[in-house]
Symmetry: C3
Subunit: 186 residues, 3 copies
């Protein structure tokens, strides 16, 4: 293993040297043309909370089921959600939009997820959607998804969404803080 690791390290070093993004350039990142900090709240269906639940397991691996999170680390569970989006971290605040789409857990060893979803806004003040895709390395303090597009007030936008787990309670409730930094605005 040591030998293949060394070869891999060398090849990777060459790979990075041959790329044209130096670490110096990386520090000169542009300023966002638009920025929003929002929260969304996910209450998973567990067979008894149909009234309150905002999400449900819809697919699971052979060893899982749809009312219990799979062991280990929820690997293979796919969850569809329609979560309220709020401006602060209070679940009872009036929602300004909905987070709609899916996430799936994709690693056996630790908790990681992959998201495909939208923030959907439909008020007199804000209309349209921001569309997200990407990997969520849940155990890290912050992690970045891609904003892959937008519609309405967010026409054609692109950017980065930085997630933070703001609450994580007894397998049934989590709250994410999403810092949406848009770098392409029309």
């Amino acid at each position: 293993m040591a030998a293949t690791e060394l070869v891999s390290a060398l090849l990777l070093f060459l790979l990075i040297c041959s790329s044209d993004i130096s670490s110096g350039e990386k520090t000169r990142r542009p300023q966002p043309c638009k920025r929003l900090v929002l929260y969304f709240h996910d209450i998973l269906y567990n067979g008894k909370n149909a009234q309150n639940a905002t999400s449900a397991i819809v697919a699971s691996p052979a060893w899982g089921d749809k009312t219990t999170l799979a062991v280990p680390n929820r690997f293979g569970d796919v969850v569809v959600f329609d979560d309220p989006v709020t401006l602060d971290n209070n679940f009872r605040s009036a929602p300004v939009g909905r987070a709609q789409g899916f996430y799936l857990y994709d690693k056996k060893e630790i908790l990681t997820a992959w998201f495909g979803f939208s923030f959907v806004f439909n008020s007199t003040r804000l209309k349209g959607a921001i569309n997200f895709a990407g990997a969520d390395d849940i155990m890290k303090n912050t992690r970045d998804l891609s904003v892959v597009g937008g519609t309405g007030d967010f026409f054609m936008t692109r950017g980065i969404a930085t997630l933070m787990t703001d609450a994580f309670e007894d397998d049934r409730y989590f709250r994410l803080r999403v810092d949406v930094k848009l770098y392409e605005c029309y």
Copy 2:
């Protein structure tokens, strides 16, 4: 609730004021560099129509199954599809491509969906794919998804796809009109 709503409204107002896209700018949208209007046709598998079906439920919530749409509002059903794409609204027209990917229903109160799919072209006249992602607020007359990328004749494109439900029959057939407006062309 009134108080939190007021606070939310105020915060949202400030949020929007601080953003650099004014409603004046929004009216100055660019012209598409390329535009296509296409239709696709979805016939859902119901346990008896294996010959004709172009899509199938592959995941459903705990209370659902794979040959019946879940109640209420199909929430949690995930559908994989390979639908013919035509230039007009006639199901029997010769397909010019395929719409391939998935959609999922993601709201308990009304019909809404989330799409991840591609228009795949493979003729002498048109090759490549257009890749879509986004929320579909089905009950609205028109709604916008993002074109998140393209390949072949649609190399690196981005844009907006405006969906209209052109037909919706007895839970088993729907036809969408897709107005693909590309704003970034290479």
Copy 3:
């Protein structure tokens, strides 16, 4: 059918003529600003290989199950994966990252798939993720997905990922060569 095909052909011809990308322009594609060639390895769970498996069927059509690939052509199977990414085609090489997300098989007549996933890097040399989406026409020698975004060292990138099946063994193992060509770098 002949008549509708003719009409479709004519309409499609007009459609293409009216678009502003001529075939002459298509040959003047830009050079990538960054390029990586990587491999990823997928071992599907079959009910007996829990130790080695890197992926699992989590959803399937009514006629399928989660330890056997659906017939015909795996249509409707959804697979969640966490696959090692290596710099060469040797499964035992030290991984430089993980490929995480899902693929689904979406055609009854032949093998085709749709991917939503990320290459996730987390080493001292390379950090961040590249996010992919698109259709995989598996029976073709090469096929292109979209790079829809990136984070960390791949901040805001876009591009094309050209897939080649490098190995495909007994329904349980495949290896993909991924030529990632990035055309937008920050």
